[in-house]
């Protein structure tokens, strides 16, 4: 029995990139803020390019605290959705070609979100990465960090709890099974 030939790298990358693009491209608010995502394997980094409309304090000037909060929340929510998509893609239960703005997995709902403002956001690009600390059947806890010029000098961090959407119809578990 011969081993199956591994998929060409371009095919794998294209599949993952198109799934990510479908996930992000369908959210108007993400587009309005100008947030982009870079992918290295399953790791995502969000970028918020600086723009005048993001300013909260024109005298300093500094990025609006609400923008920082929104940027962190989007990064956390996309990371959580992405981790679920990734799992289904790798298992082969989800075909990203079937994904577009009309056919996206339901997004998680934010239950609560707590932002810790460490220093003021400078008028420069900002970056963020999130980590899913716990993801069960119903709830997930996600931590997210944001920085600007120096990765080690965070300007904000946050923790949020999310309600995981019921997985339908792509990977609905058989009735009577409790999976976690």
């Amino acid at each position: 029995m011969s081993r199956a030939k591994p998929e060409p790298v371009q095919v794998v990358k294209q599949r993952r990139d198109s799934a990510l693009k479908a996930l992000i491209g369908g959210i108007p608010y993400v587009q309005w803020l100008g947030i982009q995502f870079d992918r290295r394997g399953d790791e995502l980094t969000a970028t918020l390019p600086f723009d005048e409309k993001l300013i909260g304090n024109p005298f300093l000037p500094a990025i609006h605290g609400g923008v920082t909060s929104a940027f962190l929340e989007i990064t956390a929510m996309i990371e959580l959705s992405w981790s679920m998509l990734w799992e289904e893609m790798e298992k082969g239960t989800l075909d990203p070609r079937a994904l577009d703005a009309q056919h996206l997995p339901r997004l998680p709902k934010t239950i609560d979100f707590t932002v810790d403002y460490l220093r003021s956001g400078l008028p420069r690009d900002a970056y963020a990465r999130a980590r899913v600390n716990r993801s069960g059947r119903r709830y997930a806890s996600v931590h997210v960090e944001a920085w600007q010029d120096n990765r080690a000098r965070l300007f904000a961090q946050a923790t949020g709890h999310f309600l995981i959407p019921t997985r339908q119809p792509l990977a609905a578990p058989p009735e009577g099974t409790a999976t976690e």
């Binding site: 959210i27 108007p28 587009q31 609006h64 605290g65 609400g66 909060s69 609560d112």
Partner: protein, 143 residues
């Protein structure tokens, strides 16, 4: 509560609040009321048309900051931390109104809580509580 017009100019001076279409309804004595119109550009979930939590956060943060600024003796403020609890989805198409109250302030820290409603005045869409820095005129040196 004072006439909102000078305070509205204050909100207008904040580019992000202006970009989100925020309108100051009332302000004074550590309380502020700010509203934000429904806008398709701020949708967070394309499947439902519900406004993004982040846009509601921005409204809450602005409203809490305005409440601190209107506290007697306040000269400046910045958010230290803000927690938002999302109770329910805001109805697509409806304006969101945030009400914030600075219920205690020392010379250095202000404590604020806020609620956000759509046109249904019952259960809030979200509630918030936060701590803000307080630059007060009574502070020694008055820098």
């Amino acid at each position: 509560m004072t006439d909102p017009s000078p305070a509205q100019r204050f909100i207008e001076a904040i580019p992000h609040s202006r970009a989100l279409g925020m309108q100051l309804e009332e302000i004074g004595e550590g309380r502020a009321v700010i509203s934000m119109p429904y806008d398709a550009r701020f949708i967070g979930d394309p499947a439902t048309g519900v406004i993004a939590g982040g846009a509601v956060s921005a409204l809450m943060d602005t409203c809490c900051g305005a409440a601190v600024m209107s506290y007697p003796g306040a000269r400046g403020t910045a958010t230290l931390d803000l927690r938002i609890d999302y109770m329910r989805a805001a109805k697509p198409g409806q304006r969101i109104i945030a009400r914030a109250e600075c219920f205690h302030a020392s010379r250095t820290v202000a404590f604020v809580r806020a609620t956000a409603h759509d046109e249904d005045e019952g259960l809030p869409v979200a509630t918030a509580s936060g701590a803000f820095t307080m630059e007060s005129v009574t502070r020694e040196g008055g820098k």
